[in-house]
Subunit: 289 residues, 2 copies
């Protein structure tokens, strides 16, 4: 069982329009609504791979109800008084995004989540995305400490840095998120991460380990890069559960990530491209901090 944690879940809403014109009135085509958030995308990919998965996090209000109704995997979300956020994409020839702030999570709600989390057994835990307002910066450290299994942490900024001392099995910043920390992969390891995977879009993915690491690049793929990182995280979660060796696991993460780029919606992947991909990992030299 893989447990995905999405503390700042979202209902992803898409508004098709002819052309977005600031100041104008737009007639919207049939809107699409889909349970979202990075952890939910990971759960979708895992479920499509045939993995047993359980999704948890916070949900509240009418948007939370719509989110839960759309979740395609078993779930154990904790109800909150606030309203689950929406992320809106206005779609013409390009995509214009509007990210609502997350709901305020109260201290009793956070304690209720910790209690619930401790009851959920998992072989691997995946912690994904931003922290909603109200949670302490070290919320992910508390969950890593409470977990009875290896933990993958896919976050950025303070949520990532404050999680490191709790020794997650793997962190997965993308190249831009890594730069924003002002740290090298070796430094993130020194701060507590057991492995550091850095994704860099078409330039590929590298996993930095104590004794070196592995890198692989995807085949040229056109499509929607949203959700590619979540697909890589899904591959890592399955691989950690199975004990897959790192070179094979890096190749698998790159193949699944490229197959996700080829699918139009985050959380989906192109199964034919995934099985057909031939990815050759190459070793990385041992880094110095």
């Amino acid at each position: 069982m893989i447990l995905t944690v999405t503390l700042n879940a979202a209902l992803d809403v898409t508004y098709p329009v002819d052309r977005l014109v600031p100041g104008a009135v737009h007639r919207v085509g049939p809107p699409r609504r889909r349970a979202g958030g990075k952890g939910v995308n990971v759960a979708r990919v895992l479920a499509a791979l045939g993995e047993e998965v359980l999704a948890t996090g916070f949900a509240g209000g009418a948007t939370g109800a719509a989110f839960l109704a759309d979740l395609p995997v078993p779930s154990a979300f904790v109800q909150i008084g606030g309203e689950t956020r929406c992320t809106l994409t206005v779609l013409d020839a390009e995509a214009t995004l509007f990210n609502e702030p997350g709901p305020l999570v109260t201290e009793p709600e956070w304690q209720a989540f910790l209690t619930r989390f401790r009851t959920l057994r998992a072989d691997v835990v995946v912690l994904s995305g931003s922290l909603p307002p109200g949670l302490p910066d070290d919320a992910y450290a508390r969950l890593i400490e409470a977990a009875d299994a290896p933990v993958i942490l896919d976050a950025d900024g303070p949520a990532l840095l404050h999680g490191l001392p709790a020794r997650p099995a793997l962190v997965k910043p993308n190249a831009q998120e890594l730069r924003a920390t002002g740290r090298t992969p070796a430094q993130l390891r020194a701060l507590g991460a057991q492995a550091v995977a850095v994704s860099d879009g078409p330039r590929g993915l590298a996993v930095h380990l104590a004794d070196g690491g592995w890198r692989a690049t995807p085949p040229e793929t056109h499509g929607n890069p949203t959700g590619a990182g979540d697909a890589a995280v899904a591959a890592f979660a399955r691989g950690l559960r199975r004990g897959t060796p790192w070179p094979e696991l890096v190749a698998d993460a790159v193949a699944l990530s490229a197959a996700a780029v080829a699918a139009p919606v985050a959380g989906d992947f192109d199964a034919d491209r995934y099985t057909a991909a031939e990815i050759r990992p190459t070793p990385l030299p041992k880094e110095h901090e």
Copy 2:
């Protein structure tokens, strides 16, 4: 009791942003969500005036639940399988609007509404706004026939024109909606409307009757014209219930409408401006068709 009917109700959502830039990612300030639709604005104004009011229409899905939870007046909405629409305003220095299509209303749901409507007793009935997909063009005619009270019809296009043969007590197109019908006020009366009120923003409001009519202009007012027409309709509904003479009623509708322009949100009005307004109606000559 005044009964307001909002067949295509909406949850009005406002996203405050720094500046809307097509193609960009926007961080949204705390979103505001409010039960909306023209009939709901009328009900809000009537409730603020101290009138007994009951709101009905269709509501469905998670958005419908949020809509009903926010309704500030007693209500008797009919539940539908479809999802109540949102209308989104992205607000920077100007307002950019996105109107979702209404939910599909099935024939059994429409019949259920007619049955419910016949059980609701009212002194005046107000029918406001567009018809959701699935309803016949003559839906308003069916309601006017079923009503046991004078009916105000505030609609445009086919929903307005098909309602006229059922002889509504008053129709209230704005000047643009009147032009779109290709008809004069006298012609709308010939088609069945007992009185025709035409609102024209700062140029005022005219009520066309069989024997002439009345016109009045508002004081110069700056603000938000959305909801001004709904405030005029609220004034007419109260006046019809009380039997207020037309000249006094036209002056009252113009005063309340201007007070609504002075309030920032549709459905509100500036009570001080309303009570202070001195509006002098002038008679209109009898028209020829």
